[in-house]
Amino acid sequence: MESHFLLSQTDGRPMYLQIIEQIKNKIAVGDWQQGFKLPSIREFAVTLKVSVITVKRAYQELENQGVIVTQQGKGSFVSSGENMSLKIREQEIDVHLVEALKKANALGISVDELLDRLGSLASKHLQNVDRSE
């Protein structure tokens, strides 16, 4: 199997989280559509040069999140849920937004203030994008 994945050695996160993120990314960008058959756990582990248990862990987590379904003896497939790609993109951005909320809370910044900050950052960011075009 040709590898579509590259795990980072310097990324501080556990390897199974990197695998989850990269699988979700393949689905989010539409490379792996609903019903797509994922590589077997063993095959994937060999390709990535990581242990079988690490890939198993990633698949279990993806199954819990409803991203993939595993059929005994047949393998794992991308879930046929509606708009899986959109759902994953939303989940992905939510992770960062929740982090921002936690950080704001720790710094004593209210949700309204945070929304204002986001608004003003968005307009600044858009200006930058305009200029660079």
Binding site: G12, P14, V50, S51, V52, I53, T54, A106
Partner: protein, 296 residues
């Protein structure tokens, strides 16, 4: 036959300055076990025992369904063993060694030899004495892998290898795992290699098993939590705290039983959580060794 490729039960061995005491070790078929320990911890002695090269004074040793105290010869046909101590004939070529091994082992795989020669960038006609350390390690590994053994036992397979040779070696080890009933036990003090490849990890120190779990559990249970807390507050009553470092209102606590209730517990002490960090296997290993030594 059980689906354990290796089972060591309460293995003991005494020397005048070193004891192996009550070693238990299990390796499930189809998986990789990493044996980690400081120099002189007993890794090589343990490996010699499970290979049947050394008969222990006490305990049971089962390898691939064979009792190693009675049927070591039968098991050895199915085990591929490589260690730094193994010497090839220096005046002979790699090809000579390949032909020799082929004459001994019926399952010898010639096409795999060709693949490995290419992947390892070896020259079969070259005499062993002309090989670099890395080439010798790879030649040894080739001679073991081409037998397609059910169990690979590798003592420090990546020690002294350059980064390219190390990656080549790790790749070959993982390729072995494509086959569901083949297993690998490898020892190392390079925790990074073990963290990457192993399904299960056993830490040993001073002749004892310090801890043994599946790798993901190890990584999951250890966390370093940075908190802000009243400097007067006493944290000693919290369970499973392995380490606490404090300076003013900032504290860094390390736990080996992390879960959501640990965070709640810290909050109950009036702490606010700044960050929760995973530990590398190396950090976990060092902490495990120190805490086991401290408990003596």
């Amino acid at each position: 036959m059980s689906n354990l490729a290796i089972e060591l039960n309460n293995v003991c061995q005494s020397y005048s300055h070193f004891n192996l005491s009550g070693i238990n070790l299990e390796l499930e078929a189809g998986s990789i076990l990493g044996l980690i320990g400081p120099n002189g911890a007993g890794k090589s002695t343990t490996i010699r025992i499970l290979m049947g090269l050394l008969v222990p004074q006490g305990g049971n040793v089962q390898v691939l369904g064979h009792d190693m105290l009675k049927e070591a010869a039968l098991a050895k046909w199915k085990i591929g063993f490589a260690s730094e101590d193994m010497r090839l004939y220096k005046n002979m070529s790699l090809q000579w060694h390949i032909d020799y091994m082929k004459s001994l082992f019926p399952g010898w795989d010639d096409s795999y030899v060709k693949t490995l020669i290419k992947r390892f960038d070896l020259i079969p006609e070259q005499k062993i004495k002309g090989l670099s350390h890395g080439q010798r390690v790879k030649a040894n590994l080739l001679l073991v892998l081409a037998r397609r053994p059910k169990l690979l036992v590798l003592d420090e397979p990546t020690t002294g290898l350059d980064p390219v040779a190390r990656q080549e070696t790790l790749r070959e080890l993982m390729d072995v795992m494509m086959d569901e009933d083949r297993s690998i036990l490898f020892s190392s003090h390079n925790t990074q290699d073990i963290e990457q490849l192993s399904d299960k990890i056993t830490f040993i120190d001073r002749g004892r098993v310090v801890n043994s779990k599946d790798k993901e559990t190890f990584l999951e249970e250890w966390r370093r939590v940075r908190i802000e807390i009243d400097s007067e507050k006493d944290l000693n009553s919290i369970n499973h705290l392995v380490d606490v470092k404090r300076s003013g209102r900032v504290a860094v606590v390390t736990t080996n039983k992390f879960n959501e209730s640990f965070i709640q517990l810290l909050k109950g002490f009036g702490a606010s959580i700044s960050s929760v960090e995973s530990l590398s296997l190396e950090e976990i290993f060092v902490a495990e060794v120190f805490s086991s030594r401290g408990g003596e």
